[in-house]
């Protein structure tokens, strides 16, 4: 079950004609899909589009009513391949994932899909994970659109525009027989806004219709000679059709204004922030009326040359606001204008950053430079631009504001595993660790600082391939259960078996695709009527031929350490696999907390554990924090008047997972940790024992106290 429940949001998917939807951008997209008569939806979760998957997973009822097929695809490649249903049939389909990582995974299927062309509208919704808050390498989806001839929509981050873009994307796809990508930046996915809804539409053609009368057209298969014909079709038929559709339906927006001899072209997604920059430069008002003409590209690929010529003619200079690199639009614009003999000077990355997110601050600076150079009269005579902020010295701030990297959650089952790895490396020296994508990626950050490379989701084991054969120390790969099912089973484990790697892969089995929001995966254990879970990783690993497979519970640190030592030393050749088991604490707490609360309220005897540290025995070395890094394990001022180093302190968020005890034990730390067992609704026996204990212990304690008082100074 996903981290967030969308029961409330699901209801807003039912809104009909003329009602008002309020919510997040990505949920508006979900509603727009239903309004567009989509027949099937797939995808792979990942920020910032996880909520689209989550809300559909919670919307089983409404999807059934509409006859929409939804599935959580095994990977982005699976999702992209699913779109093949739109090749032969007038079925509208949509898939979603995080880009560019997901697009990389999907691009085999996407390239073939783009070559075949589609009959039914095929829409790919991409969460462009770029800029602040991104968790992946920084690239542009734009390149995929160009290389495969797919169209790319980058609508204004404004819910009505986004919704319209979804609806138009299907039409565009059908009008040009081409799959269409719609990208939303991180903030646009999470933007809260509102739009007027329309009724949901049942798909006019269903999968059952297709199965009843399968259609086949050899020209749609990607084998020669069709592929040659398809390439020609892309350029001669589909591209002009798309450009015509974009122009005729006015998907892009041209806004004229007073300063007619300059202009600004921008990706639609950057509209709001660019407008704010213009406003701060006193070149626009709050309502988006700009004194500089604007050309908004809600479709960033393909470009429509006639529109460019129309917008740029008679202008001395045009600024292109295009985020990321390379500057594909700027290059194309130069080409279009030269070929059409339009003299406007194209300014882009010359005044704006070549790379990195276009924050309003960056835009204010870049647009300001452009206006300063080409239209200084817009600034003269007007109120001066709002005063720049007086800066505090950066060095001073850096010393006072410590970086706060992400880390594993309180009680995370992966923590004891990485603590064990830390202890192991103290014994055997540093190891080469091929890391992977998932919550466990955080082990590359403090306090664990381990992992030499990350090659992609599920590619931890594959990333250690070059170290797979003879050599002194064995390489260690880390893989999460999410990555394992995504592709790691074949790309990593199967490959290691086949190539006789002599290394160790640890599969962290927390039961969910935890980093993306706790979605279920094939090995998830909770029963779900719509899916078959409980497919164990151990069986799968054995199935592809691994002989040395062990399972450990991560909270048993000593057991884990023993297994790790054995895996590195055993004379058994071939890949070694340890499945490190421990349920994601977020999911577990979400399930168990309410149950415990209910049990306590219902008068049942419940014991709740939590940890603590005695400040008078803690000496402030913080080894425990370096080994664990649990957010609930923190420091506070040393109450001892003679000591200055802060003591460790367990705050109230402790979930009593037990790692502190294990760490203290396995690492021979210090005796300051204690575990407290709080008893709710004690039994008569509990109360009797407590009375006896209090009597005996109390007597002894009072005697000691008297002795100490004899020497009070």
């Amino acid at each position: 079950m996903a981290e967030r429940s969308f029961a409330k949001e699901v209801e807003s998917l039912r809104l009909g004609e003329g009602e008002e939807f309020h919510g997040e951008g990505i949920l508006a997209v979900t509603k727009a899909l239903l309004q567009s008569g989509v027949a099937y939806v797939g995808g792979y979760q990942g920020a910032p589009i996880s909520h689209l998957m989550d809300v559909l997973a919670d919307a089983e009822g409404i999807l059934n009513e509409l006859g929409v097929h939804f599935e959580s695809s095994a990977s982005e490649a699976t999702a992209a391949a699913m779109l093949s249903a739109s090749i032969n049939y007038p079925l509208r389909g949509a898939v979603t994932w995080k880009s560019t990582v997901g697009t990389n995974v999907a691009s085999d299927a996407l390239a073939n899909l783009a070559s075949s062309g589609v009959k039914g509208g095929a829409l790919i919704i991409l969460g462009e994970d770029y800029g602040e808050g991104a968790s992946i390498m920084q690239e542009r989806t734009h390149a995929f659109a160009m290389k495969s001839q797919m169209w790319l929509l980058d609508p204004r981050p404004h819910l009505p525009t986004i919704v319209r873009a979804v609806e138009q994307a299907f039409e565009l796809s059908e009008a040009s027989n081409t799959p269409v990508m719609l990208m939303l930046r991180i903030r646009a996915c999470h933007v809260y806004g509102h739009f007027k809804t329309r009724d949901n539409r049942r798909p006019s053609f269903s999968a059952a219709d297709a199965l009843a009368a399968p259609a086949r057209d050899y020209s749609r298969i990607i084998l020669p000679p069709s592929t040659y014909a398809q390439e020609r079709e892309k350029i001669e038929i589909r591209l002009p059709a798309a450009q015509r559709f974009v122009a005729e339906r006015g998907l892009n927006e041209i806004i004229d204004a007073e300063a007619g001899d300059i202009g600004i072209v921008m990706q639609g997604g950057l509209f709001n922030n660019t407008l704010r920059a213009l406003e701060l430069l006193d070149c626009a008002d709050t309502f988006g009326t700009s004194r500089v003409p604007l050309y908004l590209l809600n479709v960033t690929y393909p470009l429509v040359p006639e529109e460019w010529v129309r917008f740029c003619s008679g202008k001395r200079a045009v600024l292109i606001v295009e985020e990321g690199q390379p500057e594909f639009i700027e290059q194309s614009a130069n080409q279009i204008l030269r070929q059409n003999d339009v003299g406007a000077c194209i300014v882009g990355k010359a005044v704006l950053p070549m790379f990195g997110e276009y924050s309003v601050d960056a835009l204010r600076l870049g647009v300001g430079r452009f206006i300063e150079q080409w239209a200084p009269q817009l600034r003269a005579g007007n109120a001066p631009a709002r005063a720049a902020v007086s800066a505090v010295s950066a060095a001073k701030l850096a010393a006072l504001v410590p970086p706060r990297p992400s880390g594993l959650c309180t009680g995370c089952p992966e923590r004891p595993f990485f603590a064990a790895m830390k202890i192991l490396q103290k014994e055997v020296g540093a190891l080469h660790i091929s890391a992977d994508i998932g919550c466990h990626s955080f082990a590359t950050l403090p306090p664990f600082n381990m992992g030499n490379s990350i090659m992609g989701y599920g590619l931890g084991a594959a990333g250690a391939s070059a170290f797979g054969t003879d050599g002194g120390k064995r390489a260690v790969s880390i893989m999460g259960d999410g990555g394992f099912w995504h592709n790691g089973l074949t790309s990593g484990i199967g490959n290691a078996v086949f190539n006789k790697h002599d290394d160790l892969t640890v599969i962290i089995d927390n039961g969910y695709s935890a980093a993306t929001g706790g979605q279920d995966i094939p090995s998830s254990r909770a029963p779900d009527p719509h899916r078959q879970g409980n497919n164990t990783i151990i069986d799968a690993v054995k199935g592809v031929g691994v002989k040395w497979v062990r399972r450990t519970h991560t909270y048993d640190m000593r057991g884990t350490l023993k297994l790790l030592r054995e895996a590195l030393k055993t004379p058994v050749r071939g890949p070694k696999v340890i499945v490190a088991d421990g349920e994601c604490q977020l999911n577990r707490q979400r399930r168990e907390r309410p149950l415990m609360r209910k049990a306590i309220a219902g008068g049942e005897r419940v014991v709740r554990e939590r940890f603590g540290v005695d400040p008078d025995t803690c000496t402030g070395d913080h080894s425990c924090i370096r080994l664990s890094g649990c957010p609930s394990l923190t420091v506070k001022d040393n109450p001892d008047p003679l000591r200055s180093d802060p003591v460790v302190h367990v705050d109230n968020s402790c979930v009593g997972c037990g790692v502190c005890g294990e760490v203290a034990d396995a690492a021979v730390l210090c005796p300051s940790f204690y575990r407290a067992e709080l008893v709710y609704n004690p039994s008569a026996w509990d109360r009797l024992m407590a009375r006896i204990r209090a009597a005996v212990i109390g007597t002894l304690q009072r005697r000691s106290e008297r002795n100490r008082l004899r020497y009070a100074l």
């Binding site: 999470h190 704010r276 000496t619 008047p641 204690y674 407290a676």
Partner: protein
């Protein structure tokens, strides 16, 4: 110029409820007939990292008048933010770092508590940033500041920090919305309504009272008052001896005497005082001392070293009545609620031998076979201190302090203390500041097991430099650098580097 939106940023930590707060604000704004846009970049920051939410509010009436909706930005802009809510002190600093708090515009509503970052927490000594300076910075940047400990307010009301922030925001009057509308949002959320409303109201009133005057300055831990009369008559001579020392040193020496008595007995305190007095006499003879730095540093370190944490001490502290009371508070047990305590003890052969009489202990440690055999029984021990058997075990061990002077560990530590004091005495006249630094370096020897061994190793390697340092006028500076380097990393890399520099320079 047309009407502009009200811009508000929430700077929070992943998991602190910044999203809940943003949702409340959306609800409130819509109820007040405002257009509202909210965005965030949670991403991986959801997992404990720093995260930002950004909202803009615009009166619907103004939009209707204009016949158009405003275009709202998706991120805060330096110099263009009306209000920043920071759920933690360093996050308030981060908002300033991003330029979001400006003196001509921004109301900053921040909690004065610290949630330490992993970098600060994992330092081997003091790693936290300077709260006093941070607070000073925060105070200097905002147009208006609402600053108080919101974590404490939340806990007092058994609520969460998001309710407190909401209350403080309401009380600050930055948003033109009615109190009832704020309260209504909490009520409709339907979760922990009573507690959240209480926290909201507490914070609302608090923020109306204005600046709490929080400075981030730590309260002095040692009382400057030294009593004239001892609480126990028999100890009056000890107190008199403390009072004959230089006034500046008296508080720390008194604390040391108390600690040493608590650890062992008045006789042991006499030994402590003798040692301190010898340093005091020495300090008098050093012409250029001009202060009591040496006696203060030595007394502090000596008291800590003489009360080294052996198994007896740990058992003693774990079984005290005051500890049971403290645990009850710390774990937030309800009044009268039963609870058990489990200790995690893992004595190694070294600790066992250390607790034995010196002869027996060294004989044990000299015999690898015996050590190996005993090692098999030394795994982790969980002792349930709340049970009679568990308590008696620890109580008995704690009671062994009457034989402590005979234990191997005591002999070892005592010899080390004497050697260290000897070096201080030797150095004091020749190189006073170096002697002071040597006295302070005792801080390195702390902890248990491997931690203690590492500290002792580092301490020794620094002591090994004393002859060289004594020949240099900047010897004290160097020793302090080595001291800090020893606390920079567990592997000793920084210390090695500094030692290399020291020798390279010479």
């Amino acid at each position: 110029m047309s009407e502009r939106p009200i811009n508000l940023t929430i700077a929070a930590l992943g998991g602190q409820g910044g999203g809940v707060l943003a949702d409340w604000l959306i609800e409130i704004a819509e109820a007040e007939d405002y257009l509202v846009q909210s965005t965030s970049v949670p991403g991986v920051a959801q997992r404990t990292g720093a995260t930002i939410y950004y909202l803009e509010f615009f009166p619907r009436a103004a939009a209707l008048r204009a016949g158009r909706e405003p275009v709202m930005a998706l991120m805060p802009v330096a110099g263009d933010v009306d209000c920043v809510l920071a759920s933690e002190l360093a996050e308030a600093g981060r908002a300033i770092q991003r330029g979001l708090v400006t003196p001509n515009r921004t109301t900053l509503i921040a909690s004065s508590h610290r949630a330490y970052t992993i970098g600060e927490k994992s330092a081997m000594g003091q790693g936290a940033v300077d709260t006093e300076q941070l607070t000073e910075l925060i105070r200097s940047r905002a147009k208006r500041l609402v600053l108080f400990d919101m974590e404490e307010t939340a806990e007092r009301n058994q609520s969460v920090i998001s309710s407190v922030l909401l209350g403080a925001l309401c009380g600050s009057g930055v948003l033109p919305f009615r109190r009832q509308t704020f309260e209504e949002a909490i009520k409709t959320s339907g979760i922990a309504v009573k507690a959240n409303l209480a926290a909201f109201e507490d914070a609302r009133q608090r923020s109306q009272r204005g600046d709490s005057g929080f400075t981030g300055k730590a309260a002095p831990k040692l009382s400057a008052e030294v009593p004239i009369h001892a609480r126990t008559k028999a100890l009056q001579p000890l107190l008199d001896r403390v009072r004959r020392l230089p006034a500046a040193a008296q508080p720390v020496v008194l604390e040391g005497v108390r600690r040493v008595i608590d650890y062992q007995d008045p006789a042991y305190a006499k030994l402590f005082l003798e040692r301190v007095e010898s340093i005091a006499a020495l300090e008098n003879r050093v012409p250029d001392s001009g202060s009591n730095a040496l006696i203060e540093a030595t007394a502090r370190s000596l008291a800590l070293w003489m009360t080294f944490e052996d198994t007896i001490r740990v058992a003693d502290l774990k079984t005290r009545a005051s500890r049971f009371v403290r645990v009850r508070e710390e774990i937030r047990a309800d009044p009268g609620q039963l609870f058990g305590i489990t200790e995690f003890m893992k004595p190694r052969v070294e600790e066992i031998a250390g607790t034995l009489p010196a002869g027996l202990g060294s004989w044990l440690l000299d015999s690898p076979r015996l050590c190996g055999w005993l090692g098999r029984f030394t795994g982790g021990r969980q002792i349930r201190t709340g049970t009679i058997i568990g308590f008696l075990m620890l109580h008995a061990l704690g009671g062994c302090k009457r034989w402590r002077r005979a234990t191997l560990r005591f002999r070892e530590e005592n010899a080390r203390i004497e050697a260290w004091l000897g070096r201080i005495v030797d150095l004091a006249e020749q190189h006073y500041s170096l002697a002071v630094e040597l006295a302070r370096a005792q801080r390195l020897v702390k902890g248990y097991g491997e931690t203690h061994e590492r500290g002792w190793r580092n301490f020794q390697s620094i002591v090994g430099q004393l002859d060289l340092l004594a020949t240099r006028s900047d010897g004290a500076v160097w020793l302090s650098r080595l001291h800090e380097a020893a606390l920079a990393d567990e592997e000793g890399r920084a210390l090695q580097r500094e030692l290399g520099l020291l020798h390279g320079v010479t």
